[in-house]
Amino acid sequence: MLKIRNGRDFVGGVTMICVGLLFIWFGRGLEAGNSFQMGPGYFPTMLSLLLMAIGALIIGQSLLVDAEEGEPEAWNWKAYLLVILGPVGFGFLLAGLGLAPTMLLLIVGVATASRYANWRHSILLGLFLSVCSVLLFTKFLSLPVSAFGPWIPFIGELF
């Protein structure tokens, strides 16, 4: 009787197979060529097949070998969401708001992911880091991003 003895590895193996399938699917238009003159699709396709084979082996192992005892996983969905969406928001807002307000929002936003955060500290930290990053990146390293963007009409014109 086969039963899944190591759920985490089983999922891992399935994931690897899916990744291989994805790359084969999206690379289906690439010319593979032959081993003498390899086309652009040859190497990625071979690797995807290899990855799927390894995935199958991992699945096999997960059916045969018991998982070792580990500490139970802790999940903190609020933290994941905030920390991952923070940079995404940064990317969308940077051009419109400019560096200083975007930085402030990012810092205050991601800081709430911690259970020890308090608003006063986060806002102070955010202000401090926006001033620093404006000085360092727009003034000193002259990145092509302004401190205040076009969405903030009045202050933006002062800089």
């Binding site: 990625p44 990855l51 920390v83 940079p87 940064f90 955010g126």
Partner: protein
């Protein structure tokens, strides 16, 4: 003597005021960030890479190397003072170092670490200067087949020496290799996996990828079981070692240096393996082995010398063959490519200033660390007390701007965010991210050499076994694989990592 003129050339580059300055800044930044808990050298370098883009190549690489040793050193400071290793290579330092600190000998432990590291760094630098030119000369005769086999050996060995499941590590390498194919195919000009996104035509940016899977992903893991650390740091006094201390650390430092220098050259080796092995050896051979675990000064001296020697000699394969053995070296290779230098045996002859300058700067960097760290210890201790809930937003902010500054485009920020999700999902399934980065960096080179070799042989794969050099590299790879798979060795390997 050739080596002296080479070192002289290197000294004239490394001691240029500008390069000394950037080396100093690198050591300072590296230590400052390495001291912060939860940030290892890989994440530190990934985070700070963008600020070196604007520098000339010599200064940029000298600074990055400085960041690397600084981060390494900062990690051992936290290990001694609060029993919290900043990175994996100082895990064993914490065992006896923290006990020494509890016995009121924190100063002596830190001084031992600094002096041991400096001695090991000096020896490893000389070793690098002696070994690199002949190795590069051999590598110059490599054809595509030999290069392909060498990279296969490097990848196999890096998996063999890493901890955790072998199969999963292989999966990560292959995944990394596939990710490396994203972008325009060099030979045919065909875009691959770009989904009509113009930014992807140059491939995924490795800085954004590594910031995602190392920097942001570490934060996600740390936030999972977050608890406020009450850091009770003692005042550090008594930095001077007694005569008795000196007598006790000489042999461990020598043994640690020798072992670390050797293990650092191996692919996948480097600082972590070196420090573990040195501690294990010392525990067997030391006349004071009864004191181990209770604050033996040998237990600090040996692993600290070994990890610094290993960190230094891991530059050998990277600089001479262009093959990174660990994720930090993979980042260095990436930094060289960004600076327009193709890593490999040609660097030594095409860019002698850069090559020898970097080698001499390793020595000067180590000297700076000794001078810098012992007096500044109070500052580092103060940095330790920065609470994590103020630290991680700053890291995220810095990563965002850093990713943006790579190409002045927010696309790389999205890539970073995407890879933090991928890296996090992988780590939840217990896949190690380090081999992924190695595969990602080596992928394009591996493919290019494979295709060229097959073109030369007209599609006959026996080209890889006909050249004696390539054949022996492949046999070596197979031997490594068999050794690791054999049950008795794998048991030893597990022991070595749990010890």
């Amino acid at each position: 003597m050739d080596i002296f003129s080479n070192l002289w050339l290197g000294a004239s580059t490394a001691f240029m005021p500008m390069n000394l300055f950037y080396g100093f800044i690198g050591c300072l930044l590296g230590t400052a960030i390495g001291v912060l808990p939860g940030l290892g050298p890989t994440a530190t370098i990934a985070m700070l890479l963008p600020i070196t883009f604007g520098l000339p190549p010599e200064a940029a690489l000298i600074m990055l190397a400085g960041i690397f040793y600084g981060a390494q050193y900062g990690g051992s400071t936290t290990a001694v003072l609060i029993n919290l290793p900043g990175e994996s290579s100082s895990v064993v330092t914490a065992i006896d170092g923290y006990q020494m600190a509890r016995n009121g000998r924190a100063g002596a432990a830190l001084a031992t670490a600094a002096l041991g590291s400096f001695f090991a760094g000096s020896v490893a630098t000389i070793l690098l200067a002696v070994a690199a030119p002949p190795l590069a000369a051999v590598a110059l005769n490599f054809g595509p087949a030999e290069y392909f086999s060498l990279m296969v050996l490097g990848l196999v060995a890096s998996v063999a020496l890493a901890s955790g499941s072998l199969l999963k590590a292989f999966a990560m390498i292959v995944f990394g290799l596939i990710l490396g194919t994203v972008g325009t195919d060099v030979e045919s000009g065909t875009p691959r996996y770009v989904f009509d996104i113009p930014e992807l035509y140059d491939g995924l940016n490795f800085v954004a990828v590594s910031m995602g899977i190392f920097g942001i992903c570490e934060i996600l893991r740390n936030l999972e079981n977050e608890h406020e650390r009450s850091v009770g740091v003692r005042r550090v006094t008594g930095l001077m070692l007694t005569k008795e201390d000196f007598k006790r650390i000489i042999a461990p430092v020598l043994r640690g240096t020798a072992l670390g220098s050797f293990l650092g050259v191996l692919p996948g080796g480097g600082a972590m393996l070196a420090s573990f092995a040195a501690y294990a050896v010392e525990k067997r051979v030391s006349p004071n082995r009864a004191e181990f675990g209770k604050g033996a000064i040998e237990g600090v001296a040996a692993p600290e010398s070994a990890n610094n020697a290993g960190a230094q000699t891991s530059f050998i394969p990277m600089l001479t063959l262009g093959i990174p053995g660990n994720p930090v070296m993979a980042l260095m290779v990436g930094a060289m490519i960004i600076q327009g230098i193709t890593p490999g045996p040609n660097v030594i002859s095409d860019e002698p200033d850069l090559f020898w300058g970097m080698i001499v700067s390793m020595w000067s960097g180590n000297l700076m660390l000794v001078i810098l760290n012992l007096p500044l210890i109070g500052l580092w201790v103060r940095m330790l007390t920065v609470p994590y809930h103020l630290l991680f937003p700053a890291i995220i902010g810095f990563c965002c701007i850093g990713a943006y500054s790579i190409n002045n485009s927010v696309f790389d920020v999205f890539v970073m965010a995407g890879f933090s999700v991928i890296g996090f999902a992988l780590s939840k399934m217990r896949f190690e991210p380090a081999p992924l980065l190695l595969g990602f960096i080596l992928g394009p080179m591996l493919e290019e050499n494979l295709r060229r070799a097959m073109l030369i042989s007209q599609g006959d794969p026996s080209i890889f076994v006909r050249s004696p050099l390539s054949l022996s590299l492949l046999i070596f790879a197979v031997v490594v694989l068999v050794l690791v798979l054999s049950p008795s060795i794998s048991r030893k390997r597990d022991e070595a990592f749990t010890e």
